[in-house]
């Protein structure tokens, strides 16, 4: 009997270093096809695994168990990324995949994730990366939490204390840290200051290889096409284009004194000094 489930929501994203701009056509050129676990999600995975390691001994005294589950919505090949999560120590993974999910904005993504999470009994905590590399919105976490009517703490920099029912948690705002106590259920998002992710263990890799990832589609989630993907989205991309960066680079020659003089002169013109 599993008593506490920690759900880690992750996403497969194109690695940005692979993106280059063809200067002649001003279009994107991807060199090679590389997708990665969204970097912030690796901290979410690690935090989930660490919380389990912390909670398991406490709960075992009362014969209770804790389990971590990785959840993603994406095309079929996202299953490989879920196996990576298992190699990193996650217990189980579920892939939400359906042609009808494609093109989802944050609203439709949050709705689909929320319906999937409702399928689990006894989940207590949802952990997400603070934003994705591609969409870069950071909105799915708070929207998901709202749909499940649970508190959301973004920019979590540390979980100071946690038990089955509540946690003490610190978030990083612009100029300050705030510490909150919240009752579970809750959702949190994390950045790179929360932990240093481990590398996959050999045991984890072996386990991942043998794992079959269940795939849930819209019918399994009792969702209609009109609620998911592009159709279920309130926002729609109408244009994608390259930013026009006009960098006029001026390399300053001369001695360091001359270079500094020129910089100083420019700063003076701009009323900065």
């Amino acid at each position: 009997m599993i008593d506490i489930k920690i759900i880690v929501c992750i996403k497969q994203v194109p690695g940005t270093t692979e993106i280059k701009i063809n200067p002649e056509t001003n279009t994107l050129v991807r060199e090679g096809i590389e997708t990665v676990i969204n970097p912030f999600d690796t901290y979410a995975i690690e935090e989930g695994v660490r919380l389990k390691e912390k909670l398991a001994p406490l709960l075992s005294q009362t014969g209770e168990e804790v389990e971590t589950i990785a959840l993603t919505m994406g095309p079929p090949q996202s299953g490989e990324m879920l196996k990576e999560a298992i190699a990193l120590g996650i217990d189980k993974a579920v892939l939400l995949s359906d042609r009808a999910f494609a093109g989802a904005d944050t609203w439709a993504t949050a709705l689909t994730l929320a319906e999937a999470i409702k399928k689990f009994d006894d989940w207590k905590l949802i952990i997400l990366g603070k934003q994705t590399l591609d969409g870069d919105t950071g909105q799915v976490g708070p929207e998901l939490a709202q749909k499940l009517n649970i508190p959301f703490i973004g920019y979590t920099s540390s979980i100071l204390d946690i038990n089955k029912n509540r946690m003490t948690i610190k978030r990083l705002m612009e100029d300050r840290y705030e510490t909150f106590e919240i009752r579970l259920h809750a959702a949190i998002s994390v950045g790179k200051d929360i932990n240093i992710p481990r590398v996959p263990s050999l045991r984890g890799k072996l386990r991942a290889r043998n794992e079959t990832i269940p795939v849930w589609d819209k019918n399994y989630l009792n969702l209609d096409q009109s609620q998911t993907g592009l159709e279920g989205s309130y926002t729609q991309v109408i244009r994608i284009f390259m930013p026009e960066h006009h960098y006029e680079v001026k390399m300053l020659d001369g001695s360091p004194d001359q270079q500094v003089d020129e910089i100083y002169g420019r700063l003076k013109e701009l009323n900065i000094v």
């Binding site: 991807r30 609203w107 590399l133 591609d134 969409g135 705030e178 994608i240 001026k250 003089d261 910089i263």
Partner: protein
């Protein structure tokens, strides 16, 4: 709903394949074919010179939103004072509201925030809706969300804008989820579509490598968060607002209905250190070339002289030379100050993504091949430990400090 390629016009030119970031386009028998990786982002549609690709089966619901009117901006407060981004939004909102011929209102929620009224009206607001109550002393997501939902439900603006601050980015998605409307994160440009009179929301994605223009369909208000420092705050010159009585509407709330699930235990600021780097006009940033934590004192001296703050590259943060809140770049903060001085930073694409929209970039690096020199306005190939002290001295002399 589907995405289709018209094979009669497709030439198999591969533009769409090259632009697709999800590996969803294949060229089969000299024709583009779109596979299940497609996320309907529309990049291929925009790039196609032959108009061969279209998304089909999407129905325009033609909903009537005539009962929604006006532009509303959230005047976020911290410790009782409205943040600059609130005024930036007011100035931007003024343009949008004038374009649409509607009113511009501000929402001011907090404790003892009345002091802000006079200043707030200088940026073009027609009206302020204010909740002044001790329950809003701190930035607590759920009760602020509840208050905003009440106000939006009552006054039904067609556009609602908030700052993409830490709080804004956490709070406003909650509001959008409750209201059931679209929200576009982190916009850098806003405009009105002249024909449809809807809000065109432009934002960077893929770490700033791509810009996307987004619209909200089938729901109101059209909600967006906007990055601080992107819009210009501009006083309208109309002062002496006179009778605040008619321009400010106080909203009484039933305090018992605003119980939070977030129990705030403590707030701490890093002593003697400015970590709110997005809020400064000048950032002096250090990278691997600094060689250690001690060298940041040099950058701090320069930053202090310029009224700025110290930033850092990921390399410097990962080496524990400086704390994470100072990190600029993809896994840190996105900044756009008036002046960014990069010292000993090579300029990995992830770093550039976080600072390339700065107004003026000065880069100092030993390596003439460093990528930072591709985007810097002024580049100095040299030793930062020689150049920075000279610049500090020059500034001090200019001010008669030395």
């Amino acid at each position: 709903m589907d995405i289709k390629v018209d094979e009669s016009t497709c030439t198999g030119c591969s533009l769409c394949k090259n632009v697709c970031m999800y590996d969803a386009v294949e060229i089969i028998n000299c024709k583009a074919a779109i596979n299940d990786n497609c996320v309907f982002c529309g990049a291929c549609i925009d790039v196609c010179k032959f108009k061969s690709i279209e998304i089909t089966g999407l129905q325009d619901k033609n909903l009537d939103f005539s009962n929604y009117s006006g532009v509303m901006v959230f005047l976020e407060t911290l410790d009782g004072a409205v943040l600059d981004v609130g005024y930036e939004l007011s100035s931007e909102g003024r343009k949008l509201a004038s374009n649409l011929g509607v009113t511009l209102s501000g929402v001011l929620i907090g404790n003892n925030v009345k002091e802000n009224f006079t200043q707030a009206f200088e940026y073009g607001l027609d009206k302020i809706y204010c909740i002044d109550n001790p329950v809003f002393s701190n930035q607590i997501d759920d009760i602020y969300a509840k208050a905003l939902v009440q106000i939006i439900d009552k006054y039904k603006p067609e556009i609602f804008l908030a700052g993409a601050t830490s709080f804004g980015r956490s709070l406003v998605p909650k509001v959008a989820a409750i209201i059931k409307t679209g929200l576009t994160a982190d916009c850098t440009a806003l405009a009105i579509d002249e024909e449809k009179k809807i809000l065109l929301q432009t934002r960077p994605t893929f770490g700033g490598n791509v810009l996307a223009t987004i619209v909200t369909k089938d729901a109101r208000p059209q909600m967006a968060t906007v990055r601080p420092h992107v819009m210009e705050k501009k006083k309208t010159g109309i002062t002496g607002t006179g009778d605040l009585g008619t321009k400010v509407e106080f909203i009484d709330i039933d305090q018992s209905k605003f119980k939070t699930k977030y129990k705030l235990i403590s707030t701490e600021k890093e002593a003697g250190e400015n970590i709110n780097i997005t809020d400064y006009d000048v950032i002096v940033s250090g990278g691997r070339g600094l060689g250690g934590s001690d060298s940041f004192a040099l950058l701090k001296e320069l930053a202090d002289l310029l009224g700025g703050v110290v930033g850092a590259s990921r390399a410097a943060v990962d080496s524990n030379w400086i704390s994470y809140p100072h990190q600029v770049g993809q896994t840190g903060k996105t900044v756009n100050p008036k002046l960014y001085i990069a010292c000993g930073i090579s300029g990995a694409i992830q770093h550039l993504a976080g600072m390339q929209t700065s107004d003026l970039v000065i880069a100092i690096n030993k390596d003439p091949e460093a990528p930072i020199f591709k985007i810097a306005n002024y580049g100095i190939v040299g030793d930062l430990f020689e150049v920075v002290p000279k610049l500090i001295r020059k500034i001090k002399m200019g001010r008669g400090l030395e």
